[in-house]
């Protein structure tokens, strides 16, 4: 079966999960037509970028059991690579290739060095080392303002095909103008799909099984003849590579990059939350987690505004539902979901369908 091959034999193994995944895919594909307006499109694009980013983090945390806080660094390298190249070389595809290519090389080299030097140490120390490196990199990026635009970041033009000015046809299709933004959006969705399936393939390869073995019991994996340092380093390098590509996609979509959009520690925390909410070590969990989190992040305030207005007569409830309290509710939602679903949404759904079978 083609689907089985595309998914590398790793099916959702839960009907509800399969439906959710289909709904996410359909939602992304239909966004420009079903939900007009710039906000919806931007949210959908962000969902795509984060699906790649969170999946790449899951490769590291969920599959290999490595806790790294340097993931946004690689995300930032990808975004800055494209931003700097397009800013300096002008809006050409060559610049995109040069930017993404050199960012990939830098990320691979950095992750290789960090991996080889520090994956031998205990998990806790590794987390600390990555935290230090990431923080140093963040400072470094804002200090090099001549290249990176410092705290202000860089605004740049993208190749014409992807820019709003480009038009495929004079006539709008189903009420949507066929401009470069639309092309950029669908390219983004397609790239996300390809990168996700690629990662799914990797975790389901013999190599992917060894990563899981190392996560489960590194001592025994060594006794079976697997050199865990080598595997951990590969996992680190691969994960960094995919995160870099996610960063490049983000920059291309936003036509802007700055420290707050791709390097900040807040994003690192968000990634962690997304992978935990969705379910570690499943990859599908990253899709569900990223989608849910970004939807809540962007629409919870709107929802609360409605609710607060509806409750305008009830004093305390009205204040609790005020849009300014949205972070409080996000926090409560997070605590509840971790408490109710310690194995994440995907883990819970799979356990349910296993119990039925």
């Amino acid at each position: 079966m083609i689907l089985r091959r595309l998914l590398s034999g790793d099916l959702p193994r839960s009907r509800v999960l399969a439906l959710i995944l289909l709904a996410i895919l359909a939602g992304l594909l239909l966004t420009p037509f079903a939900f007009p307006g710039a906000k919806a499109l931007n949210v959908a694009a962000k969902v795509c970028v984060f699906i790649v980013l969170v999946s790449s983090f899951d490769l590291l945390l969920g599959y290999t059991g490595i806790v790294s806080f340097a993931h946004t660094m690689f995300f930032g390298i990808g975004a800055y690579g494209v931003a700097i190249a397009l800013n300096r070389m002008g809006p050409t595809w060559t610049a995109v290739a040069v930017g993404a290519g050199s960012a990939l090389l830098l990320s691979l080299a950095l992750s290789l060095v960090i991996g080889l030097f520090s994956l031998r140490v205990k998990a806790m120390f590794y987390a600390m080392i990555t935290l230090a490196v990431a923080t140093a990199f963040q400072t470094f990026a804002s200090q090099l303002s001549e290249f990176t635009g410092g705290e202000d970041g860089l605004t740049f033009k993208v190749p014409e095909l992807l820019s709003p000015g480009f038009s495929l046809s004079e006539h709008p299709f189903l009420g949507v103008s066929l401009d470069g933004r639309l092309i950029a959006f669908y390219l983004l969705v397609a790239t996300t799909l390809v990168l996700f399936l690629l990662m799914l393939r990797i975790v389901n390869s013999p190599f992917g099984r060894v990563l899981q073995a190392i996560r489960e019991n590194a001592f025994r994996a060594e006794a079976l003849g697997y050199r865990t340092v080598v595997y951990r380093t590969y996992s680190n390098v691969l994960s960094a590579g995919f995160a870099t590509l996610a960063g490049a996609l983000l920059a291309l979509w936003l036509r802007y990059n700055g420290p707050d959009t791709s390097l900040s520690f807040e994003i690192m925390i968000d990634i962690l939350l997304m992978v935990v909410i969705g379910g570690m070590g499943t990859l599908y969990g990253s899709v569900v987690g990223a989608t849910l989190f970004i939807l809540v992040q962007n629409y919870l305030q709107d929802l609360m505004k409605l609710a607060s207005e509806g409750m305008a007569k009830v004093p305390l409830v009205r204040d609790l539902l005020h849009p300014d309290r949205w972070l409080l509710w996000l926090g409560i939602l997070f605590v509840l979901s971790v408490y109710r679903f310690p194995t994440g949404i995907v883990g819970k759904l799979r356990a349910k369908s296993r119990a039925k079978a």
Binding site: I202, P206, Q212, A213, E216, F219, A223
Partner: protein, 252 residues
């Protein structure tokens, strides 16, 4: 003929404590040697030094005459020293079949293959299923290892070693904690392995009847030192064993 495995003055100190004290012993190919001794005698530590989980303070380990003292545990495993652990040491959240497959896969050397889909490696899965059959765990192949009862976990522990197919098999109390009716499965496995005469087997075991039946030779460790070595009947009868080992057992 060179020995399959040999230790020369193998020693490890933890601080002031000498856990294994200058143990020199050669193991002939195709033989089964039982290693006995009271708790704390250094049997498991001796195993750890051979399979590379610990590095010796002094002395050497030779595999087929070649010095492997500098090799890491994974290197020794790939060179043909296989080990089953006394405390069950599995991949708890992977299925029973996957636990075994990982050993088969290590032997096949496809661990770094990123592109193929693991479930398409029929030959590996087939081999894993064969091994599963020998320990009578086929019905539980899709359960997580952690979900197995203790006896089945012990069987899986041994099955992983079988799947690895090393030249030197090291069993560390393979039947410990098993119920009486489960023990024969493991003993039959070891017996048939021994009958092949092409594998070298080291067995740490407390049950004297098992040792007497299976072993070609017994060595006795006491306080980290090798105190007796020879034919099973002679060693068991020797005063030092009566005192150092059986004395304790009788006293129980």
């Amino acid at each position: 003929m060179t020995s399959a495995l040999e230790t020369q003055d193998l020693t490890i100190r933890f601080g002031g404590h000498v856990a294994v004290d200058a143990v020199s012993c050669a193991f002939a190919p195709g033989t089964l040697t039982a290693i006995v001794g009271p708790n704390g005698a250094g049997k498991t530590t001796y195993f750890n030094l051979i399979s590379g989980q610990l590095r010796a303070t002094a002395g050497r380990v030779l595999l087929h005459g070649e010095d492997i003292s500098g090799c890491s545990a994974p290197q020794r495993s790939r060179r043909g020293i296989g080990r089953a652990f006394q405390l069950t040491n599995l991949f708890p959240n992977l299925t029973v079949l996957e636990n075994i497959r990982l050993a088969v896969q290590s032997r096949a050397g496809v661990g770094l293959n990123l592109w193929s889909v693991w479930s398409n490696h029929r030959e590996l899965t087939g081999r894993a299923e064969e091994v599963l059959e020998t320990v009578a765990l086929t019905a539980k192949r899709d359960l997580a290892a952690a979900a197995l009862p203790h006896g089945d976990q012990r069987k899986l522990e041994v099955a992983i070693l079988m799947a690895l197919e090393p030249d030197v098999f090291m069993f560390d109390e393979p039947t410990a904690g098993m119920s009486v009716d489960e023990v024969p499965v493991i003993l039959d496995l070891i017996r048939s392995l021994k009958a092949r005469r092409d594998k070298t087997i080291l067995l740490v075991e407390h049950k004297m009847d098992v040792v007497r039946e299976l072993a070609d030779r017994i060595i006795v460790l006491h306080n980290g030192a090798l105190v007796a070595d020879g034919e099973p009947a002679a060693v068991i009868a020797s005063p030092i064993v009566q005192e150092a080992y059986l004395g304790i057992e009788v006293a129980k």
